[in-house]
Each structure stands twice: as C-alpha cells, then as structure tokens.
C-alpha cells in the first residue's frame, strides 16, 4: 500500500472516530466484561449420598467424597461456587484430596486435606484430620480475604494457606471446576453449574500472508498523530497509538506477532497495559483492558494471533476500546503505517 492510500484512510477515519467516541460514551458503562468461570454469587449444594465413584478429572472414590465434604462446608458458610471451587483446588494441591496423616519437609506437622499445621491456627489434630471441619476452618479464613473475586484462584488459596509458592495451586483449577460441576447443583435452580462449559472460549486472530495478526477488530476510532489541545489550542498533545473499536467491551485482543510478554502495568491513570517484546527492537502495547481481562502473564511466550486480553475501559478512557501502540527502538511509530508495512490494514 502506498502513502496516498493511507492519507485518504486517515482523512476518512477522523470524523468516524468522533462519532465512535460519542457512541462509546453512550453505549458502554465502566462495567467489566461478563464474568467467566464459577459463580461468585450462587452457592453449590450437594447430596453426600449420591457422590459418584468417578473418575472425574482423574479423581475417584474417597477423593470425591472428600471433595463433597469441602463443597458442603463452603455451602454451610454461604460461600459462592467460586469459593467452593477454590477449596477443592487447594485440597488437590495439598493432598490430592486425601486425608494425609503426614506432612512434608517444610511442614512435618502438616496434616489432612489442607495440610494444616500444628500451630494453633487450624484446631486440634482431630480437627485437621476431619474433612468437613478442616474445610470449614479453611473457608473461615478464606472469607476474610478482601476483594477475593478479583484475585486469581491460586492467589486466594495462597492468602489462606500462606505457602511458599503463590502460584502453586494454578495447575489444579481446571480439575476442581470439573469436580464441582459434576458433583453439585446450583442452589435455587437445581441446575448443574455450567460455568466450566459456558466459559467463553478464546478466539484466535486471523494471520496475514506474512504471518502478522491485527491487534483487534476495527474500525479505527482515533488514529495515531498530533492533537490540538482543546484548551490551549497548542500542538503539544499526541495520540501515540491507534484506537480500535476492538469488538467493544470484552472483544478479543490479539498479539500481532510472536514474542514474550515483557511488561504488564497500570499507567498513571490506571490504564492497564500489556507490552509484548517481538525482538529486533519491536514492541507492541495494548491498553485499557481491565486487569482481570488480561489473559497472559509476564514472561509468557505468545504467538501471532493469540488472544492475550479482552477489550476494556480502564484508565483515561470514555468507553471500551483498544489503544494499540508500536515502538521501534524505543520510539512510538504509527501503528497504521507499521501494520500496513507488514501487510495488515487496521
């Protein structure tokens, strides 16, 4: 594509961007995208007499009975399906859902489903070896974890357990979701929790012939370039990225090329930003998702077209959109021109 085409595109897009902004302000509040995963409001009930033998997610027999006690203990404290699932995940990570009568190197005095230590915080030996009582004591502490629905499951479990590795429980979350989904029914509806099934799947981006992906769907709502300050009239403001409608709130955001997640941070106005290092001096940045809608971790390798976040409205923003920036050797360049040079029209 030559420069003439680009100029024409920019001229056309500018008025559209103003319309887009106004509509964005009218249509979208500052709510986060639809929650994905177990319910944070409804509790799960269970009939201890009808627990299946399994296997479910590789667990069977006594392991599922123990999971049922954990789910019941959470229900009796009026905790949510998500909290109950965190309880099952924690016990998988501590004991594989078995009432262990032994500890480990760091805690030789640890006992039971949750490997609770003999430090006075978790009751008597009998309490720690009792599936229902040990789960109840776990959940009593969990209920004090502030803002826990905005923390990842392993972070919540870790804040109760205070173990050495905050990420320890993450690998057990999927199995816990499967178990709770298979064993219980959501209170009030009598229905199976369907969260695990209905969880919105990640959407891969489409790659260009040269192997690059758009960062998100268009249209462009505000192009890259200098701005006239609406108050002073001076040319001191610059839009250092390209705004895209990006599917609106919750829409998919894609890594434009292979790379590594090099930074995730909130800017000075609370705008969450993901930075991907593509090597060769090229960085891409994706701004305005809510923290909980960022789907990658720092250090993680990503591939071109991989969904890395959902579109949001965090920071200096008046409606859900993606602010997409490209840096070459540390300097912001026009994302529209850069993407065009690799065969992708924004």
């Amino acid at each position: 594509m030559d420069r003439k085409t680009t100029t024409g595109l920019l001229v056309l897009v500018l008025p559209l961007s103003l319309i887009g902004l106004v509509f964005g302000m009218l249509l979208f509040g500052s709510t986060s995208s639809a929650a994905c995963g177990p319910s944070t409001s409804a509790s799960v009930t269970i009939d201890l007499a009808t627990v299946p033998d399994g296997p479910i997610a590789g667990f069977s027999g006594d392991q599922l009975i123990n999971a049922a006690y954990i789910i019941t203990a959470g229900h009796d404290l009026a905790l949510s399906e998500r909290d109950q699932t965190i309880g099952v995940m924690t016990a998988i990570g501590e004991s594989s859902l078995l009432v262990l009568d032994y500890g480990d190197a760091a805690g030789p005095d640890s006992r039971g489903l949750f490997q609770q230590r003999d430090n006075g915080a978790w009751g008597s030996y009998a309490d720690r070896m009792d599936p229902y009582i040990s789960a109840t004591n776990f959940f009593r502490v969990l209920a004090t974890v502030e803002n826990r629905d905005s923390l990842s499951p392993t972070q919540v479990a870790h804040r109760v357990q205070r173990n050495a590795n905050p990420n320890h429980y993450a690998p057990y979350w999927d199995a816990a979701v499967q178990i709770v989904t298979a064993l219980g029914t959501l209170e009030g509806t009598g229905a199976r929790p369907v969260s695990a099934v209905s969880c919105d799947p990640l959407i891969p981006g489409t790659l260009s012939a040269s192997g690059w992906s758009r960062p998100a769907d268009g249209p462009i709502t505000s192009p890259y370039g200098m701005r006239v300050d609406p108050v002073t009239g001076s040319f001191t403001l610059m839009h250092i990225g390209t705004d895209l409608n990006a599917g609106g709130c919750g829409g998919p955001i894609w890594a434009i090329q292979d790379g590594h997640v090099s930074r995730i941070w909130a800017d000075s106005y609370g705008g969450w930003t993901v930075q991907v290092d593509h090597n060769g001096g090229v960085l891409s940045e994706y701004k305005h998702s809510y923290r909980s809608d960022i789907l990658v971790r720092i250090g993680e390798p990503v591939t071109a077209g991989q969904q890395i976040a959902r579109t949001g409205n965090s920071g200096w923003s008046t409606g859900c959109h993606l602010h997409f920036a490209v840096l070459i050797d540390g300097v912001n360049v026009s994302p529209e021109l850069f993407m065009q040079s690799v065969g992708v029209e924004l």
Partner: protein, 184 residues
C-alpha cells in the same frame, strides 16, 4: 492539577523545538551497537517512513505525562552479570525460613516487582522449604532482553526465578520464585 503540568510540557516542547529541527529518535543502529537478541525472521521497514513520535510531546492517553523514548535493553555482559547477581540476592533473601516475617519481608520486598510484592507478601516464611543456595545461579533463557530466567541450585533442588526490567536503566526485579517439581 492538570494545567501546570500541561504548561510545563508546552515549555519543554518549545525548548525542544528550538533546539532541534526534526523529530528526535535514538541514533540508528551502528556497528558498535550491543549484540541483539535472537533476531526475528521478518525485517523492519525504515523507522523514518513510519511517522515516529517526537520526544517531548504529551501523551493524550495520560494527560500530564511527557513522552520520552524508551531505553530499550539489550543482552550484554553487564546485563547478564546483573541478572545472575540479582537472582542470587533474591534467593538468599527468600531462603530464610527461620526469620520472623517482618525481617524476612523487609529484605525480600525491595528485590521484587510491584506485582510480585503483592503475590509474595502473604508467604509465611515458616512454610518455605529451601534454606541455602548450593551453587552459582545460571541464566537459562535470553529470549527477551526485558526478561531473564535464572536457575538457582539449592538444598532442595533447582529453583527457577523469573526476573524483569522495564528499560535499559532499570534494575532487574523478581517476578516469580518457582520451586523444583514436588516441592511446595
């Protein structure tokens, strides 16, 4: 609050504009540039054709914040030595299960990123299984010059530390401290 900041930025721009005639960017890559991290298979178009942002203007997604070029880090001997040294410091501070929490955290926290500070502040050192480094840390992944994966031999096996840095002038900080398989 915003007005004085904006005016300050305008002043900076004026000074910049009178000092230079064209947008300021980093000098082009020369033969003396530090070695580059595993270069990708695609090639870059010339930056000059991509409308690079001039330094000194104000970021309209962060009113009051002036845009300055990012000092992009590269892998060189100093970076590697700093990463390995920082990994040893982090592991030494972490592997002290007998210390009271306050003392343990006071030494570890400054070595961690903001996110890792939130994550690790809830650790009870009494639950930490490792108590000694038993060898020199080894840098095992240089895929990105912003990230360093370092293996640290200890009395309970090899830990893997992920470190990050935000630019070429920032120190390495710890992101995660992952125990060997089977050790919690």
């Amino acid at each position: 609050m915003r007005r004085p900041l904006a005016m300050a930025c305008a002043t900076i721009v004026l000074i910049w504009a009178s000092g230079c005639g064209s947008p300021a960017g980093p000098p082009p890559t020369s033969d003396s540039a530090p070695e580059q991290t595993a270069h990708p298979s695609w090639s870059l178009p010339p930056v000059e054709g991509l409308s690079p942002a001039p330094a000194g203007v104000e970021d309209d997604t962060q009113p009051g914040v002036t845009i300055t070029p990012l000092a992009v880090p590269t892998w060189d001997a100093a970076s590697r030595a700093a990463a390995v040294g920082r990994a040893a410091e982090i592991m030494t501070a972490f592997a002290r299960p007998a210390r009271p929490y306050e003392d343990w955290w006071a030494d570890l926290a400054p070595l961690l990123s903001e996110q890792a500070q939130q994550d690790y502040s809830f650790v009870d050192p009494a639950n930490i299984p490792v108590s000694a480094l038993t060898g020199d840390p080894v840098l095992v992944d240089e895929s990105s010059a912003f990230l360093a994966r370092v293996e640290v031999p200890t009395d309970v096996g090899v830990y893997e530390l992920l470190l990050s840095r935000t630019d070429a002038t920032a120190p390495w900080v710890g992101e995660s401290i992952t125990p060997p398989a089977g050790v919690n």
